[in-house]
Symmetry: C2
């Protein structure tokens, strides 16, 4: 999840002040609602050293009623704590109904710092993750709201902050030897963070990444995340209470007409959250392009290379899975064509993914993709993929909110299974901007040869561009993993896009062959 | 779960015939209902070799419509299958909505036979269990009903069956070298089975142990299990459908009055299931007793031993957790008194567990027990325990069915955490029969010194003896583990009971001290 994070987001002082005022009022109000409904809330702060956990916690509690929360700083275990099972000190600190417990550091220590410093041994990691997930699941099922915030800064920024702290006599003590060590081996530590995020990002206790290079931005995102999570939980609990009451009375209340200020807050937070959401797509530099000559030359070279590598894959029995998603007219077809031009047709299959047929609909949505997974040594290319679940199915309401929310984990699990079985797994997002799409749509309509490629549905989908963009950004964030990365392909120049796809595949195969 | 299984249950031919006739009609009917409602069903047969999987599957499908199911025998992978990710062949065999897939052997191979034969390496086990649980959870959340049957026979019976098969020319080929090996190392294989049952007995796909020494008994239990699971799922789906419809119509239907034949089948299956349920309690030999002289002598010796061991525990920093449950007047107090008589009072605490107070009620039910867990080197004795969740709370309706059902796993997880942190964990069930209880109740009432010990509630609980017995049997089965075993203490003789408790504790401590 971390690799796709855009850390450059900033907020001006004026904007910050204006927004914060409203957020503070809302948070105070939601705290009172949680208390009235007896909802216990856990807020976990984790992340890189010097990312600002202490500062942000201070900022967050400013608008809370101090009689309703505790802050638990989690440092090295005390003598007393060391003499108990690891989870003991966290169980004893779980909040009572209606109260808020804020954790500055948490049970994640054991799979982060303690792992880094080898106090947690590799062989104990599976049990540690099992404990953590079991703990969170038990609390969530008992009605606890668990909000997990991961404060992210980059290596350079971290070093800068440590230097600054050390220069000042009064703060120098805050930078430990361990902090310096983790900064020096930042990448190694970050990969443990990544592993932790993968294993504990659950539907009952999801992580939110807080880009913390800019403290104002971070504060806004933390407030918004907490507000949204609380408002959603309040709505859920109220609905459940109403259903229970209705069941008793044998009539169900029409809630749609009810006055619902918390619902309003939830919706506003939704909008605000989207504004704060990191747009991975917006980072793509769509001006990248190649001339026809560059393209011809590169294409030819890469295709020849791939031809050879394809044979080598077959001999070494390595399966390859390539997924293509992207905007309509984003260039999926063209890229796939150039990719397979010189590959031996007995060694690959292109699976076009249409709407599911009746038999497919009668199964789990992943069933048809599992069926199409390649044998060892073969390449399976998917023209549209299982990611339909979190894009078109999400947006068109073909599945429920719970269904698409849990799909991220289901998909990550599937891709991990494939990777564990030895496969190379890469997903491409063919990216173009809205203007370029319009140009291509029109060109298709005007060209009798290409007219079949464009339908009314394409135009309808285009109207939902913003909704799709949100969904795609969330998808890229939640499902780009070490073992199955997303590659955003800058597609305004078809030449550039096709070469990038080929080169990515060639590089990935070469890297794998070297490993073995 | 396996150690508590009573394999001696038998059914007469007459009883079998009579019951089976009714069960067959019910199963046929439920299959049609599942089809109509579009419920996909997976039935998994696992267990020891020669336990009768093939035979029982043949028996089960006799009353099914052959157009509605497939049987998938899962043997060694084919060439084709070996060239795909492990879960591929199971994903592709998942049933369509309304159909039944029966697995003769299954995805559990990988953590059973393949593990035993070292084709699955230890380091790959966590990923394998993760895959299995993820697969089952995804299917369950998608509406699949997953019924997992574990056919259990003992080492001797297995050997007898293998011998018989081998004697006959026509069946000799069915006994493989591997079968013989697994029989020879039965205990080792059984402990892998145990580990598998612990890690995959989930609320969305629970295991049922089928005692398979007697084939008629096994067939009845399999039919009853399948019928109960199907009927429950049908009820659940119907209820969901009604709720959806009611939500649309803004009125909720009063289902209590509705004609509900499947509900009837579910209730009947419930009763039948209980009859078939293995009664662990009934195995206890309550005639066991000691004379006063034997008692005095043994008690004195054991108490002296424990006194020493207690000091040793403290020096070695080993925590001990002893839970006491049992029938009212079962002798918990007396046993705890004799246990602690000579222990250093600075080194142990007895925690009496009453109804939760307001603060305790405001937390997760395990919270108050976590708080009371002992420091390293200390002994915590619980007079009544966290098992209240699956006994009194279950029977009195203080928690929902989902809550007590998932409690087995929550409790197993907690005890595993404690064990992983180095603790010795033992749970005692103080067992007496109903007559003995009456005798003791009356004695208490007649004795002015003891009258305070007996209340109206005790008499009320006594009326629910049968309900408690069912709950206790299920609890013993689902939560007796290698790392935290249940010990049933034959308690009609108080002398015998007290000595057994002391001896169990002494033995467990001595065994642990030898390990380190």
């Amino acid at each position: 999840m971390l690799e796709k994070v855009d850390l450059t987001k900033k907020v001006s002082k004026e904007e910050y002040k204006k927004k914060m005022e409203q957020l503070e009022v809302k948070l105070g109000r939601l705290q009172r609602e949680c208390k009235a409904l007896g909802i216990p809330v856990l807020i976990v702060f984790e992340g890189f050293g010097a990312a600002g956990k202490g500062l942000q916690i201070g900022r967050l509690i400013q608008s809370m009623d101090p009689r309703g929360f505790e802050v638990h700083p989690i440092k090295n275990e005390t003598e007393e704590e060391r003499m108990h099972p690891f989870m003991w000190r966290f169980w004893t600190k779980t909040p009572a109904r209606g109260r808020i417990a804020i954790f500055d550091g948490s049970w994640y220590r054991r799979v982060l710092i303690d792992r880094f410093e080898k106090r947690t041994k590799s062989k104990d990691l599976p049990a540690a993750f099992h404990s953590i997930n079991s703990f969170e699941q038990q609390l969530a099922e008992d009605g606890n709201l668990i909000i997990k915030l991961f404060l992210d800064i980059d290596k350079k920024e971290q070093k800068k902050r440590f230097d600054k702290l050390e220069k000042n006599e009064e703060t120098a003590w805050r930078v430990s030897q361990g902090d310096r060590e983790r900064n020096a081996r930042y990448d190694e530590y970050a990969s443990m963070m990544e592993d932790m995020l993968f294993k504990t990002d659950t539907d009952y206790a999801p992580w939110t990444i807080i880009e913390s290079m800019d403290r104002r931005f971070a504060a806004l995102k933390i407030y918004t995340t907490v507000i949204k999570a609380m408002a959603d939980q309040i709505e859920k609990v109220k609905e459940q209470n109403e259903e229970k009451a209705a069941k008793k009375a044998f009539i169900s209340k029409d809630t749609s007409a009810a006055d619902d200020p918390v619902g309003e807050i939830a919706r506003e937070a939704d909008v605000q959250m989207k504004e704060l959401q990191v747009s991975i797509l917006s980072k793509a530099d769509l001006s990248l392009s190649y001339t026809r000559e560059e393209y011809k030359e590169k294409l030819d070279k890469l295709q020849k290379k791939l031809e050879k590598l394809h044979g080598e894959l077959y001999r070494r029995r390595i399966p390859v899975i390539l997924g293509f998603e992207g905007w309509d007219a984003g260039g999926k077809g063209g890229a796939i064509k150039r990719l397979t031009d010189r590959m031996d047709p007995r060694g690959y299959v292109v699976n076009p993914t249409a709407s599911p047929n009746d038999i497919e609909k009668a199964h789990h949505y992943l069933w048809r993709f599992w069926r199409a997974m390649p044998k060892d040594g073969h390449v399976a290319i998917f023209d549209r993929t299982w990611y339909g679940r979190v894009m078109v199915e999400r947006i068109e309401g073909f599945c429920t909110t719970e269904e698409w929310k849990r799909a991220y984990k289901e998909i990550n699990d599937m891709e991990k299974d494939l990777y564990d079985a030895g496969a190379i797994v890469i997903k491409f997002w063919m990216h173009i901007d809205k203007d370029e799409q319009e140009r291509r749509f029109k060109e298709r309509q005007e060209n009798p040869e290409k007219r079949w490629k464009i339908t009314d549905e394409d135009w309808r989908n285009r109207e939902k561009w913003d909704q799709y963009e949100d969904a795609v950004n969330e998808m890229l964030m939640r499902t780009s993993t070490d073992y199955a990365p997303w590659v955003v392909v800058e597609g305004n120049s078809k030449y550039y896009a096709r070469v990038k796809v080929l080169k990515t595949v060639v590089d990935a195969i070469e890297a794998r062959l070297k490993e073995d």
